[in-house]
Symmetry: C2
């Protein structure tokens, strides 16, 4: 999506340690009018797929998920991160690893809100190693829900997450795919 690539080039900042900071519009300050355009783009890509639920993960996926859901007129369910192992049996629970914080955490949703009638579009801000997305797919499998696909704002295409998820047969639509980035050279996009 050309508009997003331009925004990333204009506002994104690259730091050592493979960090692309887009907190001016995506995951701290949120440029809501702009994010609505991204939501509309996700809608256009998945409009005919019978999506009836959007699944995301707290915290930074929630905004873009809600702004996307209004085009589908469907609810959003956001998975919660829990550090405790003491979880109720009313939850679907999977496991994710955060490379940013080097921590493992449980990812969970209430069984009441995810089940076999759901045709789920997963929405998230970033896809890198795929750990979070994998955990969300696993929740859907446990619930017997169908994963229609995943809509990602920025994919780090040089990391293994996207390939791994696509190899499972899941359709992944990323609005911008970063092929490489570097504090000196800036961002280079795939395709």
């Amino acid at each position: 999506m050309e508009l997003l690539k331009q925004k990333i080039c204009a506002e994104g900042r690259i730091y050592a340690g493979d960090v692309l900071k887009v907190d001016s519009f995506l995951n701290h300050r949120m440029d809501v009018d702009f994010l609505c355009l991204l939501g509309k783009e996700f809608y256009e890509r998945f409009a005919d797929c019978g999506v009836n639920k959007i699944l995301t993960i707290e915290a930074s996926g929630i905004g873009i998920a809600c702004l996307t859901a209004q085009f589908f007129h469907c609810p959003v369910l956001f998975a919660k991160k829990a550090k405790t192992s003491n979880l109720s049996d009313e939850l679907w629970v999977s496991e994710a690893h955060s490379y940013t914080h080097n921590t493992d955490h449980k990812v969970c949703v209430s069984k009441s809100y995810l089940g076999p009638d759901d045709r789920v579009l997963i929405i998230d801000d970033f896809l890198a190693n795929g750990s979070a997305l994998n955990a969300l797919i696993e929740l859907c499998r446990q619930a017997g829900a169908e994963v229609i696909g995943a809509g990602i704002v920025i994919e780090k295409a040089y990391q293994e997450g996207g390939d791994m998820i696509r190899a499972q047969g899941v359709r992944v639509e990323s609005l911008a795919r970063v092929r490489s980035m570097d504090p000196e050279m800036g961002v280079v996009f795939a395709d």
Copy 2:
């Protein structure tokens, strides 16, 4: 707001320990079409106030904040909760106490995104003891931003938060004010 009161009566569940669970539409599964109506209501109440930024706190405030912001055509800034005391000096930082989890935590936003030009509407899902809202107001004071008011989905009017914040001269608009609640008797609304 009558529609919200009906929704709370229809879907809310009350548990011992002063818990009103509305996770079927507000803070786990999010009924986005319905939340848009709440966002529109906030807009109508604050339309003429020159709001140019919406401030909320992760995670459950983000959805309603984004859906409200699109009526104002302004960005959302969400404050993050941090447990570490090792925070950068690029942040405005305040303090909140969670009665639900009985923990203290820091609440912070980047100094880049909150400053003296901002006319801030604070949006949150719940107001009870007022600790989170107070922390957000404090961030605005540090930044020299003007607090136009606070838009709250559900206020527990029998707790002290609303009175305390209003006594500071901050306009608080709550879409539903709960006067009392009880697992047997259900919810009674103020006004």
